[in-house]
């Protein structure tokens, strides 16, 4: 009796089916979910799929790598139907993963210590020594509490017999835990009541344990400081690094944010160097320290290994852990575990032959047909080869290659992955069967390894595959682990609470600098867009048009002697608006870890707007309107959606300084004109400075120069006035200085005061006296703009000076 939802779903005889038992009956622990799909079929199911798609698309913005020059976006594919595991099934996995993590930690300790397993002949020396991530300089390293493996992941697959088998171990910088959390958050919005009814165990607490582990190491009285080390925004999984850092409440840093002095790691912060106790790294082993490891890249932290050797920093995972990432280990781990921890591994492993061993080589040479061939070491890249797919000459060629360098090859038995129901990715809404693997995570704690109750399920792009490796072009699923006795599901137990304070002064200088420039570019884009829009509103045959064009040119917003509109949105024009928008999105991306999802999403919208622009004059005003709306939204996020800490202050200072410079230069340029400004020119000025409404409500008269200047220069209540910028800037600088404990000379007040003293009325009129006063006032404004520039430099010098130096490697 198949329900309508299941009409398109069929079991398979040769593989385990997660949903249906051997008799084709829905397994009990799937029934609640199935009933939910059945109710109001297919409408509610469709709504669920659409919601998931929408949430993924929206969050997809957060996955896109903006600065990727190739523009390669990798949208995250989430199938909203989970993989469901019973409490009993999970118990086996949990115990097995805990035990395996313990054994692998012991193995690392031996490989980087006495190497007894190699001397005993239990493990071939070729496996560690031939692996590019066996780091000789790390031999003898003694990480705090003998802990090498802090975060561990294992890929599992269910065999036809119903047991979960190990496909691969992830010991270097296991990825995907952040995605697992993100999946859960999305799926929770689709099936909130099902999760509750089933008592699905929450995954967020796992991150609490990880954070605790990271903060557990401290040597002195100081509070422990832990950071997440990323290779940077160009890395394909940067999204996850930023996401993880946010979830853990730890600063996200790049190698250049850290410095090692006297065997101690420091973070370069706004207020100087702050000792770092723990590093959760997402940087590969051999890139971590260019002094002692790979010297061809300056990505890492020079001297990090020395600090680790001195026991002054905890690195998670310890440097060199990547050596275990090879299928070649699989066949040797049971023996190693017996020897190291005296236990039989609970989780079975897919049958694996390392060809460096004579009998294994002979077997592989004779049975290639039924095997999958892989490289033993990750630096020898080739895709898995399926013996059954080879023709005679290809097989002969492969066999010769294996014989020449047997120890570089591993063969594995083909493995029939289990299947789960998933929505078809195209066409009508229907369920289909897809092969699935499970990535399960464990974190070291003071009382042993703790396993995340859930994980990341990955499904193949096709329904029937027996690939042992993960599939490209597939998708992901949430993993539901049912609690024993159906404890109430606590949907609110998110990572909340762990986002506890990162102290203000722990803001990395580089991040501070990026936030400062984010503020500057946001303001610069807005100013330019408003200037352009006001200019384009002038009739092309009017005097104002010529005047506005001249000013716009003089301010460098459009090119000289050119069709002013031709290159309006050409990012190749380095002074143009489009180039500034690009710089803005670049800064935003660098500061990604500080922006909320909504904020980031709004930046994504802006970025797409810019990409969709077709340079037609008729549309220019509309484009500028839309851009200004987007920037207004971003301004709103900046005010309402960000923690007002030192990073935020720097961003606001950037905005204010930029606006001071823009307003001063604009007004000075207008005052420098031979004639006093006409009424239409003043209207234009008010338009650019968003002060038209304010003028009308205040003066209820047609614009006059003195009143216009009063409003744009001296009115402390007008958020677009110079006076307002100065007051806000002064307030933020004082807070910033108080927080980092150093003062910054007030460079604006001296330049600003003369502007206040001048009688504005004296600027009006055609007379020589008035013309002289206008020139004097213009000069005052220019002095103010220059002072703002100097203040910006001083700020940079105080907070960002150690950011700029280039790092290079040298060798003789």
């Amino acid at each position: 009796m198949l329900s309508p939802a299941l009409q398109t779903y069929s079991g398979a005889a040769d593989r385990y089916d997660e949903l249906l038992d051997a008799g084709g009956v829905v397994r009990p622990h799937w029934r609640v979910l199935l009933e939910r799909l059945q109710a109001d079929w297919p409408d509610s199911a469709r709504r669920g799929v659409e919601l998931a798609r929408r949430l993924v698309v929206e969050n997809g913005v957060t996955y896109n790598v903006y600065a990727d020059p190739q523009g390669k976006d990798r949208p995250w594919a989430l199938d909203p139907l989970p993989v469901i595991l019973t409490a009993a099934e999970w118990r086996e996995i949990e115990l097995g993963v805990q035990q395996r993590a313990t054994a692998l930690n012991a193995l690392l300790q031996d490989l980087y210590g006495p190497q007894r397993l190699l001397a005993e002949g239990i493990v071939p020396a070729e496996l560690p020594f031939g692996h590019p991530n066996y780091l000789w300089p790390c031999r003898g390293l003694q990480p705090p509490e003998g802990r090498w493996l802090h975060l561990y992941a294992v890929d599992l697959a269910r065999a036809p017999d119903g047991r979960w088998w190990v496909l691969a171990d992830r010991s270097q910088t296991p990825s995907g835990a952040g995605y697992a959390l993100e999946n859960r958050e999305i799926v929770t919005r689709i099936f909130p009541e099902v999760l509750h009814e089933l008592g699905v165990r929450p995954v967020a607490r796992f991150f609490g344990a990880l954070r605790e582990q990271m903060l557990s190491f401290a040597e002195d009285e100081e509070a422990s400081l832990a950071v997440v080390l990323t290779p940077g925004p160009f890395n394909e999984t940067y999204f996850e690094h930023a996401y993880l850092a946010r979830q853990l409440g730890l600063p996200l840093v790049e190698g250049s944010d850290l410095t090692v002095r006297n065997h101690t790691v420091y973070l370069k912060t706004l207020s100087g160097l702050r000792r770092v106790h723990s590093i959760l790294r997402r940087l590969d082993d051999d890139f971590c320290d260019p002094v002692e490891l790979r010297g061809d890249s300056a990505l890492g932290v020079p001297g990090l290994l020395g600090a680790a050797r001195a026991g002054r920093v905890q690195v998670a995972n310890a440097l060199g852990c990547g050596v275990l990432e090879s299928a070649a280990w699989l066949g040797f781990l049971p023996g190693a575990a017996e020897w190291l921890i005296g236990e039989t591994l609970r989780l079975p492993t897919v049958a694996t032959w390392w060809c460096g061993e004579r009998p294994a080589l002979d077997y592989v040479l004779g049975n290639l047909q039924g095997l999958v061939l892989k490289s033993a070491f990750p630096n020898q890249r080739f895709d898995a080869i399926f013996g059954r797919d080879l023709d005679d000459s290809a097989r002969a060629d492969i066999l010769a290659r294996i014989k020449r360098r047997p120890h570089a090859y591993v063969a594995q038995e083909r493995f029939a992955l289990s299947q789960v129901p998933a929505w078809r990715s195209t066409g009508q809404l229907a369920l289909t069967a897809k092969a699935v693997t499970l990535r399960v995570y464990a974190v070291a704690t003071q009382t042993g390894y703790r396993v995340m109750p859930g994980g990341l399920a990955r499904i193949a792009s096709e329904s029937a595959v027996d690939v042992v490796s993960s599939q490209s072009g597939g998708g992901s699923k949430d993993v539901w682990v049912l609690s024993e006795g159906r404890a109430a599901h606590d949907t609110t137990a998110r990572a909340a609470g762990l986002r506890a304070s990162v102290r203000n002064d722990e803001l990395p200088s580089r991040l501070g600098e990026n936030l400062f420039w984010l503020g500057r570019y946001a303001e610069r884009c807005e100013d330019k867009a408003r200037l352009l829009r006001a200019t384009l509103e002038a009739r092309a045959d009017s005097e104002l048009w010529e005047y506005a064009l001249a000013v716009t040119r003089d301010l460098g917003v459009i090119a000289r002697n050119d069709n002013p509109l031709k290159n309006l949105f050409d990012a190749g024009n380095t002074l143009g608006l489009a180039a500034d928008v690009k710089r803005f999105t670049w800064c935003a991306q660098q500061a990604r870890s500080r922006l909320s999802t909504e904020h980031w999403r709004a930046i994504g919208v802006l970025d797409r707007q810019m990409q969709e622009i077709t340079p037609k004059r008729s549309e220019a005003r509309e484009i500028l309107d839309r851009l200004l709306l987007s920037f207004a939204a971003l301004g709103g996020f900046a005010f309402d959606d960000m923690v007002q800490d030192n990073g935020w202050r720097l961003m606001m200072c950037g905005r204010r300084l930029e606006r001071v410079q823009f307003l001063s230069n604009l007004l000075a340029r207008c005052l420098r004109a031979e004639h006093p400004s006409t009424q239409s020119e003043l209207e234009w000025l008010l338009n650019i400075t968003s002060s038209t409404m304010a003028y009308r409500s205040r003066y209820m008269a047609s614009p006059r120069l003195s009143l216009t200047l009063e409003l744009i220069v001296r009115d402390t209540g007008n958020p677009h006035a110079l006076a307002f910028q100065r007051a806000e800037l002064q307030a933020e600088l004082e807070r910033l200085s108080a927080s980092v404990g150093s003062s910054l000379e007030d460079m604006l007040t001296d330049c600003y005061l003369p502007l206040v003293e001048i009688d504005m009325g004296s600027l009006e009129g055609e007379g020589q006296g008035a013309a002289y006063m206008r020139q004097t006032f213009a000069q005052g404004l220019e002095t103010l703009a220059a002072a703002a520039g100097r203040l910006s430099d001083r700020l940079s010098l105080r907070h960002f000076s150690h950011v700029q130096d280039k790092v290079q490697t040298v060798a003789t």
């Binding site: 031939g130 006297n262 002094v291 120890h407 790092v807 060798a811």
Partner: protein, 295 residues
């Protein structure tokens, strides 16, 4: 047996175009002690004096100095001075084990390994500067006829490299791929040594990279040796049951009292005399001077 006593001065001078504000350096400039060599005195002096300096032994048994320079500088001078007594090595009979037996004995066979075997197995696999390609095995194939003793094979290979390669300073650099060296048949001691190591490892044998110095002024009856004005490099091959035998493919000779050993490792990367990371510095120039005197 006779021995030769040397006084060696190895100077490295960096001039930077801009201030180096911070630097970490790793120095392999201390001669190794071995049955063939006794280090009588050694000293490494730095100008400016580093803020932190520590000495240690690396994973391959070499003595290393790690320094941290925490004051801005435009000039770095590293002067290593040492006195070393080099003993003549016993003449080794080329009748060692057949090379296939050495190869097979090093392969994994689920049995306990001796300390020597475990040591040898470090130098039998790919390393960062020595990738193993079929081309190396093919190039060396004629040096490894069935049943020939491993030492005879290594000697033949050394002579082959010496005969077929042209010593060509300045044409290669440390990043030049070995396949290019094989193709052009041109290079310096580093290339000769890496290529010889690649050939030996391609046959399943163990070989390590040795860095050191060469006697500058030849003995009266001997020809001028190549590579004496800077640090030199050669190869050590595992020859059971005798041990490790050093061969200099650049000069086509067994290593005797003309060679002074500094350090050894899997390849150049493990024993680079001076490597580091500097912050700032701009463009820089480097001068290296080595003098080796017999005393």
């Amino acid at each position: 047996m006779s021995s030769v006593r040397y006084r060696i001065k190895h100077e490295t001078v960096y001039d930077y175009g801009a201030d180096v504000v911070h630097a970490h350096q790793l120095l392999h400039l201390t001669p190794r002690q071995s049955p063939h060599q006794e280090c009588l005195s050694h000293e490494v002096e730095l100008c400016p004096v580093p803020g932190d300096r520590s000495e240690d032994v690396d994973a391959f048994g070499n003595r290393v100095i790690r320094i941290e320079l925490d004051r801005p500088h435009r000039h770095l001078e590293v002067t290593a001075e040492m006195q070393v007594n080099v003993r003549e090595r016993a003449t080794v009979d080329a009748k060692s084990l057949p090379w296939e037996r050495v190869r097979d004995a090093l392969a994994y066979a689920k049995r306990p390994r001796t300390e020597q075997e475990l040591e040898a197995s470090r130098y039998r696999v790919e390393s960062p500067y020595v990738h193993l390609k079929n081309a190396f095995a093919e190039f060396a194939a004629d040096c490894f006829p069935r049943g020939r003793s491993v030492l005879a094979c290594a000697d033949t290979l050394m002579k082959k490299l010496h005969d077929e390669l042209t010593y060509a300073p300045g044409e290669t650099y440390v990043g030049t791929p070995l396949l290019d060296v094989l193709e052009s048949r041109r290079g310096v001691c580093q290339d000769y040594s890496h290529l010889m190591i690649a050939c030996l490892r391609s046959q399943g044998l163990s070989a390590r990279y040795v860095s050191g110095y060469l006697r500058t002024i030849p003995r009266p009856d001997a020809p001028q040796l190549v590579g004496a004005d800077a640090s030199h490099a050669w190869v050590s091959v595992y020859v059971p049951p005798i041990g490790w035998i050093d061969l200099d493919p650049t000069n086509g000779m067994r290593v005797g009292t003309d060679h002074i050993t500094l350090a050894w490792g899997r390849d150049f990367g493990d024993v680079s005399p001076l490597r580091g990371v500097i912050v700032g510095g701009g463009q820089h120039t480097l001068r290296v001077g080595v003098t080796v005197e017999v005393v």
